[in-house]
Amino acid sequence: MRAAWRPRVVVAGLTLVMALTACGPQPPDGATLLTQSSQRMLDLKGFHFQMQITGFTGPAEPVQSAQGDAHPPDLHAKVNLKEGGVLLEVEVIFNSDKIYLKSFTGGWQELTAAQVAQFFDARLLFDPQAGLFAAMRDTTAPYRGNSEKINGHDTYPVDGVLQGPRVHQLLPLIRDQGSYRATYWIETPSNNLWRARVTGNLFDASQAATIVFDFSNHDHPVSVSPPPLG
């Protein structure tokens, strides 16, 4: 008799396991994830970011990559610029409406508004209205994919579409026509955004480019102070 019990116990056990797996916490749908993550990122006391542009950027867009710490609107970043086929690194600080630059030689200098217009205004990237985190809410047709590991964290990728004029707001060098594909990798339940990617013919009507943002150190307090000049 005892032997006949065994298969039943096994079947019962298996059913229980399957039932438990199926009833595990379901991740929210794409739109909810985007809204929650957008709010989370806007509320952070600080974060580290890395931005990398690949593909066709053309002569009008010198910025190739940037990395630094931000507590919007303040931020401190190192930026790689491409000038005549050569990569050059500069350092920028945005601190309470003032902008400072540390170029190839010498110390820090303060920039005027006219000079900032020559570069790109990195504050717009994380601006609460125009920036990337606000753009998450304006992403249409969101679709949540299967879980993916990004920098060692379990995230859900959310795919969607961003209109050209909207992306143009956060980076004015981007064309304001057509639409671009955006993907966000969001961790649950923390709602931390670990990676965001925008692809399309960003800088030229017929040539593709991609911008990838990687975030880390979520909510680590960042305080940016004005640098000593000279």
Binding site: N80, L81, E89, F104, T105, G106, Q109, Q115, Q118
Partner: protein, 507 residues
């Protein structure tokens, strides 16, 4: 470590073919030792590193040297234990794998790892091929073959920068320097395959001094880290210098202590009491440092202030590299005729120091004035520097080999290469850190003009560029003068310590 086996089978194989194949592998690896000096800027750009952060290129050079130094001392013993050709093939495969990582690197860390593995694979080939050559030929016939193997290694390293410059300047780009290694290494291993597979290759259980090799490598790795100025704006040495440097000294002390008590030490440390031995070792290291400074900074100078491309800077360097083999032959002959190592070694180092002093006076117009026909004064100065660095090789090497005696000659030959590379590693690390630190100090208050509503921008920018070029020149003048002083110190050491030639006698 050349301890030949008397293998009847090995002597029955096609010796020239075996030597040609292994020699080709050795040549391939030696080409890559300094191949990067003319390709550094494009390499940095392709891993997204800005040209105004050149300190990040330092590990591309030091990584290779460190890998080379880590395996060289034990490779001879490994080839005793596992078979020469097998170790040769395994290390050539490692070299090819390192080349693959370097060529395909998306990041600086992979680039440096690739260079480290290239060095480790390439460094092991030298003792393995020397030992194989010693196996294949009896004692009386051996020296021309060993000489040819060493010459192949030297020629490869001399041609490396030219090869690198030509490939980098061509349309295929710098990665092909490294991609091409893979089919070449594969072809050599394929041709050696019957030998690798045959289980008859002689092996001998050898006691390997793992502890000694690990202590020495740990000491060197820490010293390299301590001297690596990752942030030359703040400090001419590494951020961890204060703990890494003493720790590396501790490792070296432990190495010396261990070697005194080891049954089969890597190097007989008691030899250091002999001033001719330690003097020639030190002189050799200083000369290595001098060569490395020339190899790295002449191409960078050519690029930064003379606006030459990779092949242009390689061709400029060739003038110096040409002097080295000519000087090497001349130095050997002079030492023999004058029956003095100290005189000839000191002469070579003084000539090299004079060469460096002349180079340190270069200005933007230095490449223009013609001396005789198409030759410029700069050509002569470069050649003189190379000639001096070549003249010193034979007397310094011979003095060290005389000091160790017949029984330790193989270990002595390895030690010579090791000391030269240590000199290159330490000398280059110091020069790179202090040079950039000095550049940042000189330009600390030089603010670049900014465009945008600035009517005088063009004029201001031209003035700024002039100032930056001047600061770069000042940095080089300092580096070349410091190298000249180091070489003069080397000349004094050689003059004070090297013993005269032994009276020739039959043994």
């Amino acid at each position: 470590m050349i301890t030949p086996f008397r293998s009847a089978r090995l002597r029955s194989v096609n010796r020239p073919a075996l030597l040609a194949l292994t020699g080709a592998g050795l040549f391939l690896a030696s080409l890559d030792a300094y191949v990067v000096v003319t390709a550094l800027l494009p390499m940095l750009t392709s891993v997204h590193i800005a040209v105004n952060r050149p300190e990040q290129a330092t590990p591309i050079i030091t990584g290779f040297l460190l890998g080379y130094l880590a395996v060289m001392p034990i490779a001879g013993g490994l080839s005793d234990r596992f078979g020469r050709i097998r170790i040769f093939a395994a290390c050539l495969a490692l070299f090819a794998f390192g080349s693959f990582l370097t060529a395909s690197a998306p990041s600086l860390s992979q680039l440096v790892t690739g260079r480290l593995l290239q060095g480790a694979g390439g460094g092991a080939l030298v003792p393995a091929v020397l030992a194989l050559a010693a196996d294949l030929y009896p004692a009386g016939d051996r020296s021309p073959v060993l000489g040819a193997v060493s010459a192949l290694q030297e020629i490869g390293s001399v041609l490396g920068p030219l090869w690198g410059g030509l490939v980098t300047a061509s349309s295929v780009g710098w990665t092909w320097i490294f991609w091409l290694n893979i089919p070449a290494a594969a072809a050599i291993i394929w041709a050696l395959w019957p030998e690798i597979q045959s289980r008859r290759e002689e092996r001998r259980p050898t006691k390997l001094d793992w502890v000694g090799a690990l202590l020495a490598t740990a000491g060197l790795a820490l010293l390299t880290l301590a001297l690596y100025a990752a942030n030359p704006e703040q400090s001419p040495v590494g951020a961890g210098f204060l703990w890494q440097a003493p720790l590396s000294v501790l490792f070296f002390a432990a190495f010396v202590w261990y070697e005194r008590h080891a049954s089969q030490p890597l190097i007989n440390v008691r030899r250091f009491r002999d001033s001719s031995f330690s003097g020639s070792a030190l002189t050799n290291a200083i000369a290595g440092a001098g060569l490395m400074v020339a190899l790295v900074y002449i191409p960078v100078l050519a690029n930064a202030v003379f606006s030459m491309n990779a092949s242009g800077s390689a061709l400029l360097l060739v003038r110096l590299m040409l002097g080295i083999p000519i000087g090497a032959l001349l130095g050997g002959w002079l030492a023999y005729r004058l029956r003095s190592y100290r005189l000839v070694a000191a002469l070579g180092l003084v000539l090299a120091a004079v060469g460096f002093l002349m180079l340190s006076g270069w200005t933007e117009g230095s490449l223009k004035p013609h001396l005789i026909g198409p030759l410029t004064l700069a050509d002569g100065e470069l050649f003189l520097t190379g000639l001096g660095l070549g003249i010193e090789i034979a007397p310094v090497s011979a003095a060290l080999l005389d000091a160790v005696g017949e029984a330790e000659r193989g270990a002595g030959a390895s030690f010579l290469i090791v000391m030269r590379l240590v000199g290159m590693l330490v000398g280059f690390s110091l020069v790179a850190g202090f040079g950039l630190w000095e550049f940042h100090r000189a330009t600390a208050h030089l603010l670049p003009p900014l465009p945008g509503l600035n009517p005088n921008f063009a004029a201001q920018f031209a003035f700024y560029t002039l100032k930056v070029k001047q600061a770069i020149f000042d940095q080089y003048h300092l580096i070349f003068r410091a190298t000249a002083i180091a070489l003069l110190v080397g000349a004094a050491v050689a003059a004070a310590t090297l013993r005269p030639l032994a009276r020739p006698r039959w043994q």
